[in-house]
């Protein structure tokens, strides 16, 4: 489902967005997952890697047809670790969503970049694509999970896509071909992004054996098989 809506104000948007986001995940963890109480936590150590941001900087600075030059010469604001890294459980067959509440997330277009670089969402989530730049963007994806083309739209306009199938969605802009992001559509709510120090926690995980994966920058970089028991706090560290 693709639909268009205009935001009234930025601040109102934030209020609406955060409240929905907050509610949906509280509900997800406390109700959908029932009585599970195990936890997986750990630390992710990543090498310093400016590859994506440098690539973005070069390509947008060299864009020979850039109509507007504002911002193009500036070094892009680097992604935080939480914007470029996701830890998630590959598949949790025991999870079933009982919540009919609509989940929402946001993939921002600002400063000729998508933010975050990787966005994890639960299957069924509607992702908003607000344009915050003074110029047009044309977000599209030809991924088998979800194919869409939002057309060209100006600043402060938002278009949305609902992701109803799990998988990896690569998102591009048709005008700025260097713009790139990944949406990980996951079939269970046990995913998170690390703090800036690399620490992460997956709470309320039902006991079981799982494949736990790390997505970093543009690809999945590590997968570990773990077994977590009732009331256990399992530590799983990743060194990339």
């Amino acid at each position: 489902m693709v639909n268009t809506s205009f935001r009234i104000t930025n601040s109102l948007k934030k209020i609406v967005y955060y409240s929905i986001f907050f509610c949906s995940f509280q509900v997800t963890f406390s109700q959908d997952t029932g009585k599970s109480s195990a936890e997986i936590r750990g630390t992710i150590t990543v090498p310093k890697n400016n590859e994506v941001i440098e690539d973005l900087y070069h390509k947008r600075a060299l864009n020979r047809y850039a109509k507007h030059h504002g911002g193009v010469n500036k070094t892009p604001k680097p992604y935080s670790l939480s914007e470029q890294c996701v830890i998630y459980i590959e598949s949790a067959p025991q999870y079933s969503s009982s919540s009919e509440r609509q989940r929402r997330a946001e993939l921002d277009q600002s400063d000729l970049m998508f933010r975050p670089l990787v966005l994890p969402v639960l299957v069924g989530t509607t992702v908003d694509f607000p344009n915050r730049d003074e110029l047009y963007h044309n977000v599209f994806s030809y991924s088998s999970v979800k194919e869409f083309d939002l057309g060209r739209y100006p600043k402060n306009q938002v278009k949305s896509v609902t992701f109803d199938k799990a998988g990896t969605v690569q998102v591009f802009c048709d005008i700025h071909t260097y713009m790139f992001a990944t949406i990980l559509v996951l079939d269970n709510p046990w995913f998170t992004t690390p703090s800036e120090d690399g620490s992460y926690v997956l709470s309320n995980v039902p006991p079981g054996t799982y494949q736990i994966s790390v997505w970093y920058l543009r690809k999945k970089v590590d997968t570990k098989t773990v077994t977590v028991k009732e009331n256990q706090a399992l530590v799983v560290n990743f060194e990339l």
Partner: protein, 383 residues
């Protein structure tokens, strides 16, 4: 071949020099396309290989570098199935001079005429050809500036001026920038916009003196742009067979362009009035127009239509017939032509597409309307 070797060597040395700057890193990208063409069989400048089904290819390689924050290097090499190697672009670009938002380009630059922009490349152009005004070869001979209105073979052989030269590149300097909602670009180039260096057999400009070109656009919003272009410069060579002063033979060309783009829809319109001025003879005029619409029907599939045409003024001239007699010819100096194009494009991937294009040519002139419509199947791959 010698010429190509020289070009390659020059480019290699230049790239090497650029890479010597401490911050410079060369980014190579490009587009490759392969086409199958099937045209009518008639004797016409628009038929391809006399109507025999033909494969064609084209390769564009872009090598660009950031030398410093405000200094960049750009280059394009284009090679086609004729094994011809063209350096379309080879320029240094200085951005934001003295913090004024003014940019300068020097070298082989884009000529700032009209609004062709990225549509010059196969991946961004849903059609096979560029607008007719960039490609139509007129009956005004490049070799000796004579008219071959009644001699179609001269035109078919490619010996004729274009109104705007193909992709519009030339050696020179240009300045561009914007003030509020006005975007401007001014250039000083070699000679006229109808005969730039890209397409002469020697690989050098065949015209002399400086030509000036300007484009000013009013851009009130991101989706709309209204532009005006002007070009003036000598179109004949200093070594012309008649020994004439090139400055007495200027091309004067004016144009307007409109573009509008929103959602899944884009429109590009352009009209030009061209005047080749002769010292002691009436001018040769041409009026050309082009309008195209692109529409993305569903993700991956885009359809496009374009109509373009050129009209020419009437002249009266002495003609020499093959039977050895002289006579007088009165009529347009080239055949009036209208081209209709339809295109359907399928994006296989982000950087790979396939398109089917059909072009219908309607010619009104001395040789009727020959059967020269063209069907093209083209695949394009960007890297």
């Amino acid at each position: 071949m010698n010429q190509q070797l020289k070009i390659c060597l020059t480019l290699f040395i230049l790239l090497h020099l650029v890479s010597q700057f401490s911050y410079a890193q060369i980014f190579v990208s490009g587009q490759a396309s392969a086409s199958y063409l099937q045209s009518g069989e008639a004797l016409s400048r628009y038929t391809v290989n006399e109507g025999r089904g033909t494969f064609a290819w084209r390769l564009d390689v872009f090598a660009d570098a950031i030398i410093s924050e405000n200094l960049k290097f750009y280059s394009n090499i284009r090679i086609t199935e004729e094994q011809r190697l063209n350096i379309d672009l080879l320029k240094l670009r200085v951005t934001d001079i003295a913090g004024l938002g003014l940019n300068a380009n020097i070298g082989k630059i884009f000529i700032p005429f009209g609004s062709l922009g990225e549509r010059r490349y196969p991946k961004q152009n849903p059609f096979f050809h560029l607008p007719l005004m960039n490609e139509h070869i007129t009956t005004l001979a490049l070799s000796d500036y004579s008219l071959h209105t009644l001699d179609p073979m001269q035109v078919i052989s490619g010996n004729g001026f274009r109104l705007l030269d193909y992709g519009l590149y030339d050696a020179g300097i240009s300045l561009d920038g914007s003030v509020g909602k006005i975007e401007y670009a001014l250039a000083l180039i070699n000679g006229a916009v109808s005969a730039t260096s890209s397409y002469t057999a020697s690989g050098l400009n065949n015209n002399q003196g400086f030509g000036s070109v300007a484009h000013i656009a009013y851009v009130p919003s991101e989706e709309f742009s209204l532009g005006g272009s002007f070009g003036y410069g000598p179109f004949i060579s200093e070594n012309n067979p008649q020994g004439e002063d090139p400055n007495h033979y200027p091309q004067r060309i004016t144009g307007i362009d409109i573009s509008y783009s929103l959602g899944y829809f884009s429109f590009f319109g352009e009209a030009i009035y061209n005047n080749w001025m002769f010292d002691d003879e009436p001018d040769l005029n041409a009026f050309a127009y082009s309008a195209e619409i692109h529409y993305t029907i569903i993700p991956r599939i885009l359809c496009a239509v374009r109509v373009g045409g050129i009209r020419f003024n009437e002249i009266t001239a002495d003609v020499y017939s093959q039977d050895g007699t002289y006579g007088t010819y009165t009529g347009t100096w080239d055949d009036i032509v209208v081209r209709y194009e339809t295109a359907l494009q399928y994006r296989i991937e982000k950087d790979a597409l396939i398109k089917l294009v059909y072009e219908i040519y309607s010619t009104y002139g001395n040789f009727g309307d020959p059967s020269d419509n063209l069907l093209v199947l083209q695949t394009v791959f960007g890297f």
